[in-house]
């Protein structure tokens, strides 16, 4: 995860100047961060494709080798949400990659973070968090191990409590605005995902 702002990529000049300016305008990243991101991204590609890294897509399996995502329980969701691939193979272009880094960077606003967090937690992509989504979310958070999984009774209780708190319109699901309301008042959300790559 050596994607801080300190190190500059060696092969930095491959992004055109004006594109670099536009990326700075459109993301929460600084120039150095974009360059480092570019370097990291092109390292994911095979050697012969590195020349035109801006226009190639990196398959999901390569994205997941990033140490930043390796340990993340939401890795598949993150890839899915940020990918613009039409074929649905969750591959990522450089611009998708930048989008992802921008959202996860420290300086991104909590609004946009909440928006994407909602997308990530919405496992079936139907625009609301329903019981199934919540269940899957809990399972993601408690890990794969047998002993750390919650029992079904506990799960039931937990989801009931969550819906009681957050489902303000009582339709059995949590929608985006409810989610944003809940999350915006959390004291921890400011540091939510300071991940930079």
């Amino acid at each position: 995860r050596a994607l801080g702002s300190g190190a500059m990529g060696g092969s930095a000049s491959l992004i055109p100047r004006d594109a670099l300016g536009e990326y700075q305008e459109l993301t929460f990243l600084s120039k150095q961060e974009i360059l480092v991101a570019y370097k990291r991204f092109s390292e994911l590609l095979p050697k012969e494709e590195r020349e035109n890294a801006c226009s190639t897509r990196v398959p999901k399996s390569h994205i997941l080798t990033l140490p930043e995502l390796r340990a993340n329980p939401f890795q598949h969701r993150i890839c899915h949400v940020f990918s613009t691939s039409e074929t649905g193979d969750d591959s990522m272009s450089f611009e998708d990659f930048l989008d992802m880094l921008s959202v996860f960077s420290d300086s991104a606003t909590s609004d946009i973070k909440a928006h994407y967090a909602f997308c990530i937690f919405d496992f079936d992509d139907d625009g609301t968090l329903d019981r199934k989504d919540l269940e899957q979310l809990v399972n993601c958070l408690t890990g794969q191990g047998e002993e750390s999984q919650l029992s079904s009774v506990e799960m039931e209780q937990l989801i009931k409590n969550i819906l009681e708190e957050s489902d303000i319109d009582k339709d059995g699901t949590i929608n985006l605005s409810e989610f944003q309301l809940v999350v915006s008042r959390s004291p921890d959300f400011a540091r939510y995902g300071g991940l930079q790559g």
Partner: protein
């Protein structure tokens, strides 16, 4: 995709609305302008920044609508069509634009600019963002230049260019700034392995380094370097010379290591400085500078600590005591996205699971406590034990310091005797915290509360030790002061005797040819205090580093390599690897800083030592934590504990200010060393400067200001101001709590209503949807509706103020007004639902209707 479409539509509507309102407004102005023939005012208007103008004017919009005629409406329609079509159609006749169109164009340009600057906040895909950005930029490029005419044009173009340059410069500066932050990569790496709590220690360390660097610059630049460069050279006077009987050993390492010998008579310590009023060709007032720097070290530190505390407090807007969403927060925000290490991730999984289980259990049986008496007894017992420990350690230190004073009088004291105080203090600091932790196991607190207790106890221990040390030191100083009087007399007599001798011989009137090394001198208690602090700091550094080396690194090596040939599993079993002790390290840092603050007045070189220490410990601890520590078993996120540390720092700063202030104000400085020698009190230097260097009236003013008759009222005034501000903030808090309660009540009612609604008839639901259309999508039809509504009201002026009072006429408020009016048609058929809605006429509905596809929109739309 749907949502994105929505938002872009929204944007368009918004811009249309703005444009329309601006237009109306401008037309009116135009008319007025023609009447009055004031060309100038318009020009001035153009120069103003558009957004603010827009706000102001749209606020008045409602009033102006009354003046509008029919033909305006027609024009408007055309206008809207115009603007939605691509911008190219406007380009051909841009020269012939009328004033109103110009204004409109400018409005659009401003809008686009705003869009560009806020684009990154939109949850769009990069491709879309890029295309919108390019379009907007092209638009701005094209029309920006066309906006000014004649004279104004050049100025306008110039302004635009400067604005662009300024933006670019700001961005470059930001880039530069982020590049200048040191150790970002190192900290990020630690963060990914150990989570944000461990990283917060290193961030704190870095911050501390920055503060110390400033203090170092202050002291070195204004005190040490001037004295070294311009002051009297070494060996020219007694205070700058090693005494004769010490000269043989003054260069030995063992002597230097104790900060005796040459180091004692160097610029690192107070005693070296001369009391000459001005030095060098600059006429630099060194004693004055010394005093002011000593004060400003504290002033700057106070300012920095308080400022960063205030910033932290501002940042944590969401108040943690709001326990409405315990479960949801645990669910949605518990994952620390900074974790990049599988092992840490496993620990995090485990801790999340436990916290879920705990909270479920808490919920189920919140007040069930089977043996409360036993627990109470154990807690009391634990506290008694810990108080015993604290008293014991305090006494031990007092005893040791007393003993060291007798040792120091002995000539041939061994190494242990000379360093006993430091050794004992370091050992106490090393062994007491684990002891406290063991005792705290009796109490069975929740870990988070337990951590606070533990921190508080260690804090008390350190503080007690430090203050006992100071008290003992004070005894020492008093002894030295008595000794000094004797020496003073001796020197006096020596000089007198010599004088008599020279007078008797009638030879010369030259000063005594006594070598500076031979002059009898006082003990110089300030330097003694300074040396004490420097030694304490150095031994603290060594103990910390050795603890890390032995406790972490050697242990890790042992566990790692001996594990191959051992009877049990060392890694999982008894010694295992060490965890990074965040609280202990932070407290160590805080106390170290306290010592620096206390000692820096008497040992200006101490800050330099501290800067070195922080620099090395950054690298050393980073290396140690990465090489030989394991992530915490209970990985907890760093959230608001930052201000807790800052609070400790502030307390320490205050406590270290006390002894320094006491010595400055009430002890006489030594008669033969330091910048204040020969004065009764150290602060006399200020009086002297004022009397000698400032004109007479300043001295007069100063003497008036220093009059107790003025100071006491001033203090009283300040106390009253504090009282008043406190009362005001309390009132705000009460109001806040009141509002919160109100909101909660509203939420409850909302809930109830929703629950009821589910069972009521579909007719009601229809109505509900009509009543609360998503406000944003309603804005364009509002224009038309406004007119409809306003036309009957045109004659009634009573309505106007009420409407004008809507704060700055935001589309939100305007839309609300519009959306509330239509029901007049509905009332006829269904008067009942008014009762349902009535309690909240103006209540925004952030929850019920999201910006996305709303059930009611389908029905709300056809109305326009």
């Amino acid at each position: 995709e749907d949502k994105e479409e929505d938002e872009s539509k929204e944007e368009d509507y918004g811009s249309q609305q703005n444009r329309a309102s601006r237009r109306k407004n401008y037309q009116r102005k135009n008319r007025d302008g023609k009447k009055a023939g004031e060309e100038e005012s318009r020009k001035k208007d153009r120069g103003k920044s558009a957004p603010s103008k827009y706000q102001k004017e749209s606020g008045n919009k409602e009033k102006k609508t009354t003046k509008k005629g029919k033909e305006r409406e027609n024009k408007q329609k055309k206008d809207r069509k115009n603007s939605t079509s691509s911008a190219s159609s406007n380009s051909s006749d841009e020269e012939s634009l009328s004033e109103e169109e110009m204004a409109m164009l400018m409005e659009q340009v401003e809008q686009k600019k705003k869009l560009i600057s806020t684009m990154r906040n939109k949850p769009w895909r990069m491709v879309k963002k890029l295309s919108v950005l390019r379009e907007a930029q092209a638009f701005v490029e094209k029309f920006e230049g066309a906006l000014g005419k004649g004279k104004g044009k050049k100025l306008f173009a110039y302004k635009m260019m400067m604005a662009k340059k300024w933006v670019k410069f700001k961005r470059d500066f930001e880039n530069f700034k982020t590049q200048c932050i040191p150790w970002e990569m190192k900290i990020k790496e630690v963060e990914s392995h150990f989570g944000s709590s461990v990283a917060s220690y290193f961030i704190f360390l870095r911050w501390m380094y920055g503060v110390n660097l400033v203090l170092f610059g202050l002291i070195f630049g204004l005190v040490i370097i001037p004295e070294v460069l311009m002051g009297m050279p070494y060996g020219s006077m007694p205070r700058k010379t090693v005494p004769r009987d010490e000269q043989e050993t003054a260069m030995d390492f063992s002597v230097l290591w104790d900060f005796e010998g040459y180091i004692k008579y160097s610029a690192l310590f107070y005693g070296y400085y001369n009391n000459q009023r001005t030095i060098g060709w600059l006429k630099y007032r060194l004693p004055m500078a010394y005093f002011m720097v000593g004060i400003s070290v504290f002033g700057y530190s106070l300012m920095v600590v308080i400022r960063s505390m205030a910033r932290n407090a501002n940042e944590s807007t969401g108040d943690g005591d709001d326990d409405n969403f315990i479960f949801s927060w645990k669910m949605f925000t518990s994952w620390d996205y900074l974790i990049g290490n599988p092992e840490t991730a496993d620990n995090k999984f485990a801790s999340i699971t436990t916290s879920f289980k705990e909270s479920i259990v808490d919920e189920q049986e919140s007040n069930k406590d089977e043996n409360i008496h036993l627990r109470r007894f154990l807690r009391v017992l634990a506290n008694v034990l810990i108080i015993c420990c604290l008293c014991g350690s305090g006494y031990l230190i007092y005893f040791v310091v007393k003993r060291s004073q007798t040792f120091s009088k002995m000539q041939n004291a061994g190494w242990y005797e000379r360093n006993e105080v430091e050794i004992v203090m370091s050992l106490l600091g090393m062994f007491c915290p684990p002891l406290f932790e063991t005792i705290a196991a009796l109490e069975n607190y929740h870990p988070r509360i337990g951590l606070k207790w533990q921190l508080g106890r260690i804090f008390a221990l350190f503080l007690g030790n430090l203050y006992t040390f100071l008290l003992a030191l004070m005894d020492d100083v008093n002894e030295k002061l008595a000794e000094e009087d004797v020496v003073k007399n001796i020197t006096h007599w020596t000089l007198l005797a010599h004088h008599n001798l020279s007078v008797g011989n009638d030879s010369t009137i030259t000063p005594p040819p006594l070598d500076p090394a031979d002059v009898p001198r006082g003990p110089c208690w300030e330097t003694t205090v300074g040396i004490e602090f420097v030694r304490l700091t150095v031994s603290d550094i060594l103990v910390t580093y050795i603890t890390i080396l032995v406790g972490d690194f050697i242990r890790a090596c042992f566990v790692r390599f001996v594990n191959y040939c051992w009877c049990w599993d060392l890694e999982a079993g008894f010694p295992s690897y060490a965890e990074f002790d965040i609280s202990g390290n932070v407290l160590g840092l805080v106390f170290n800083q306290g010592m620096i603050w206390m000692g820096s007045f008497y040992a200006p070189g101490l800050v330099g030592i501290n800067v070195l220490r922080l620099l090395t410990s950054m690298y050393f601890q980073c290396w140690a934590v990465m090489s030989s520590n394991v992530p915490h078993e209970r990985v907890f996120k760093a959230s608001k504990s930052n201000n807790f540390y800052m609070g400790l720092l502030l307390l320490i700063l205050f406590l270290s200010l006390l002894p320094v202030a006491y010595t400055i104000m009430s002890l006489p400085p030594s008669f033969d060393c330091g910048p204040f020698s020969g004065k009764k009190r150290m602060y006399d230097v200020i009086q002297e400067t004022i009397e000698l260097d400032f004109p007479l009236f300043v001295a007069k003013i100063f003497s008036y200001v220093a009059n107790p008759g003025l100071i006491i009222p001033a203090i009283l005034l300040m106390v009253l101001a504090i009282y008043y501000l406190n009362a005001v903030s309390e009132a705000y808090q009460r109001a806040n709590a009141e509002l919160k309660k109100k909101m909660q009540m509203q939420r409850e009612e909302e809930k109830n209503k929703r629950n009821n609604k589910a069972s009521t008839n579909p007719m009601l639901q229809d109505l509900e949807d009509l009543l609360t259309p998503s406000t944003k999508t309603e804005s364009p039809p509002k224009e038309a509706e406004d007119k409809k509504i306003e036309s009957p009201n045109r004659t009634s002026p009573v309505r106007k103020p009420g409407r004008g009072a809507v704060p700055d006429g935001s589309p939100m408020a305007g839309g609300r007004g519009a959306s509330l009016t239509p029901p007049s048609q509905v009332f006829v058929t269904q008067p009942l639902p008014l009762g349902v809605r009535a309690p909240y006429p103006g209540q925004p509905r952030p929850w019920g209707h999201p910006a996305g596809p709303v059930p009611g929109r389908g029905r709300g739309q056809p109305r326009h």
